[in-house]
Symmetry: C4
Subunit: 314 residues, 4 copies
């Protein structure tokens, strides 16, 4: 019936054909039938589900990477694979959420988007809970995959810290010569760089193709691990650090995972929130707000083309 009303030029009517074709395609496929059953209309619930699911996947993969690194005595993974592997894990998990919640996977990033006026405060809370829950379950799943290897290497011994400490399989345990002040600054800086370049990547005025946003975020994680991974191991994510710490506590590492290093555990929870907000705004003040607008009566011809010349249309 849309076509019958069509009085447009050829160029427009073609689009209508496309549109109709798609609707019919959608109706026929089994996947679309299942979609009608499982689809949730409430966007908040759907987005929270996405954050839960993706953070679960992220920790499932990420804790797997760390286990492979530690349990093989750095024979199978080196620090390079910690960087690249976590980067790829973030990349795929952000892609997963890219059309629903956007893929924060990190309470501090959610807070940053609130501070920029792009997310309601209530969502920051919902997302954070979902992310932390997902991180916990993801950690547990990764643990099961490496159950035999862990038993083989640790022999049942679960010592949190010290020369034979293995809580680093799950969470950050800084060396004794790093003070908590520097640890806080380190987490502020590391998470700050994450937030800063996430703003660069997603800034619409930057015109970076959305199809590679997640790819760039993955490379960003790798870079942070190469530059600021030495002090405490770049958790840069409250959910990623806290949930596995609770898991380590439960499976027998004991209270020391919290008390170690003068109760260091709160630092990778709190510092990232300050880091993301400060860094995001520093970006906007120094660069983001300074990107020139296109003149009001000009339209860029083709936004994917660097050569394009703005054109008067009036």
């Amino acid at each position: 019936m849309i076509v019958s009303k069509c009085t447009f030029q050829v160029d427009s009517s073609r689009k209508i054909f496309v549109f109709q074709k798609k609707i019919s395609d959608v109706m026929d496929s089994p996947l679309e039938k299942a979609r009608r059953i499982f689809h949730i209309d409430n966007r908040t619930v759907a987005n929270v589900m996405s954050e839960f699911y993706s953070t679960l996947l992220l920790l499932f993969i990420g804790i797997g990477i760390v286990h492979q690194f530690d349990l093989s005595y750095k024979q199978l993974n080196t620090w390079m694979q910690i960087n690249i592997g976590w980067g790829l894990a973030i990349m795929f998990c952000v892609y997963t959420c890219s059309k629903t919640s956007g893929g924060h996977l990190n309470p501090a990033i959610s807070l940053m988007f609130y501070s920029l006026g792009k997310l309601p405060l209530s969502h920051v809370f919902y997302y954070s809970v979902a992310q932390t829950l997902g991180a916990f379950i993801g950690t547990a799943l990764a643990y099961t995959v490496y159950l035999d290897q862990t038993h083989h290497v640790l022999g049942g011994l679960q010592i949190a810290s010290g020369p034979n400490g293995t809580a680093t399989l799950f969470t950050s345990m800084p060396a004794l010569h790093v003070s908590n002040t520097i640890a806080f600054w380190d987490q502020f800086v590391g998470t700050g760089f994450l937030a800063l370049f996430v703003c660069v990547i997603t800034d619409k005025r930057m015109e970076i193709p959305p199809g590679i946003h997640a790819l760039l975020v993955g490379l960003l994680i790798a870079m942070i691990g190469m530059a600021f991974g030495m002090n405490v191991g770049y958790p840069i994510n409250p959910a990623r650090d806290f949930a596995p710490r609770v898991f380590a506590f439960i499976i027998g590492y004991g209270w020391e995972v919290f008390s170690y290093h003068n109760y260091y555990f709160w630092i990778p929870i709190v510092a990232p929130f300050f880091g993301t907000v400060a860094a995001a705004w520093s970006y906007y003040i120094f660069v983001g707000f300074q990107i020139p607008d296109q003149p009001q009566n000009y339209i860029k011809e083709d936004r994917t083309d660097g050569d394009s010349v703005p054109l008067k249309i009036t």
Copy 2:
């Protein structure tokens, strides 16, 4: 003659010129002449040929990578190159099939597409046979390239397992301290992640540019090797594991390649089929089905542009 009928606006007629130009180009070139000789009209045959050819290439390259790793005592390749190298091999082989069969290269992935209603069950069978045959021949070809090196290092000795075992040149042989239960779970998980993110990448609602789909699949393989490569060496593909195992049996490794580790050999054949289907559906239920549709009377202006605003056309 098409042009003579042309009463369209300039914008449309331009397209017609393009079209005509292409037909004439096609007629003239020697490659197109050869195409008319070799082109097979039956799409099933052509797709099966593609799967055979690409899985052959995949194992030719991949077994080469493993040989270089093992035969140089990890001097020329490290575990990093196992990850990156296999990732690149998958990437190029998926690109190769991207316009014919799609590049499954893996019976478990073919089954997943069947479970999603995107491939007839008969094709799963044809593809699996082609993939396994291709994998066998690819293994044999890689073996010939490293014939001298193999003889130099092994000195003719072909011991399947144990401290001097070298069947890992071809197929997965897990360490003794990894139980078959964990091996099954490991293969379920590893292949699951493969399937899950393949669904993310190829989901049309994700709007990831098709030109980088294969690139992302390559990175995905690398990531799985960094996270879940330690237990059994991430075969995550029944054809990739079984065909070289048969080849190893034939060239003299003996029955032990099957009987080792309490007849472990069936695990990387069976577990992936469960893993791919379960993971694919978990993705669709948690995220894929929740991606909002564009409103029915809206059309996105430019799908490669994140800024684009849906527009009423009625």
Copy 3:
């Protein structure tokens, strides 16, 4: 009111809708309100701010990478991560400036653009000062993050050169067997390759999508470090080498950071200026000027499509 005047075809009017939607969006968001406060109209000031900010970020990250490399005795970073890490740092910092100053981050690159007639000479001066200042502050910030680690490893000793010399944490200190002549040639070559391929990447006739320009520049840096990093450690940037050298002088490494190696310090400041200009012009003479124009009465149909066929429009 624009729409009311609209007498265009549907295809054009759609664009106008897009345009109007954007203006209203912009007005509402908190970020855009802040933009109206912080926006600087003077383009020169804004661009100089961008260069300052991005070079600050670059050295903050880059000096962090080098510290992690040296202070962990190459356990956490290897030479590979020096290459990849600096490459990623450049990439993100170039993306940051891509819509303001363009992201030179390097006085020698600014001079190159002047020699190509793309930047006024005065801007080369402003940019160079901003880049050097930014580099200095970025170095200082990275230093603070690794304060504890530095103290732990060096124990307060700050020896510039020799077997226990650690000024390489900040700046280039070539080995004794490399003459200053070779060092000059090395810096000429290294910065030359940087400039040459920056010209390739940004040459409009190359039609490389602008969204991946910064990505390619990052890979370029990594490549230079793999090919020409051995002689003096590829500073290839006067600001990157000089500012941290001054910082090292200030924090106690003493005059030796300048006098070492027969006053080598001026070489990575001066050689890059010659290298960039010579290499850029060599590219244009051998290749850039030889890229054929599209015939005057032809327009490429779709510039992102390799298949596209030029079409007569007259």
Copy 4:
């Protein structure tokens, strides 16, 4: 004058404005003035110049990578950087030629394009000479950059082969346990994979965005080095192997660089020509010719969009 004749719809006339703007831009800039002086109208000469220049750059960078690898006793570069570094070098050199000669950089690839009917035989000859000359000069330039390091490490001794042999700084010198038969097969296979996937990448029916073709070729080189680099070090390019061998002969390595390993030197010159042609045609027969055409009266709506649906236009 074009505009004055303009009676097209807005959509078309916009394109004309773009066109005019570009011409005037071009006229004004200093770079375009220089272009009018240096531009060579003869396309064959221009393309040969491109091949010469880019192969020079390729060897300049590539020989630098190998020198850094060998002269630092694998401390600064590992085999991984040989793979990635050469890959990046190829990538940038192919980008450089992408709008002139296309960037073969390899006589065997030029022959392959002849066999596919895409290059006249005379051009294969011209290109090969230019590539070999460029490779020679590039080698010489890289040698000068590492003059001091070479002298420091070798102490003036230039021994071609054996435990202290260093001719591998320039050219391939296979281990004694690799027969020349296997070496031939290895070069046939290695160059074959290069050619095969170059055909995949550049096949128009594959619709891979041209802006990432060179990137993929770079990754391809890295992959070949990971899979088939062990036997003779993957020269896979007659120009890349022969020219530096002549250079090594001249600077004092003596006749042994040719006579070594039973006059192996001709193998990486001859085998690649067979490998590229055989592999390219195998690709077209198994896959390339089987890619289905779009139906004659259908036009794809948007070729960068995987969702696009062919539409009738008649």
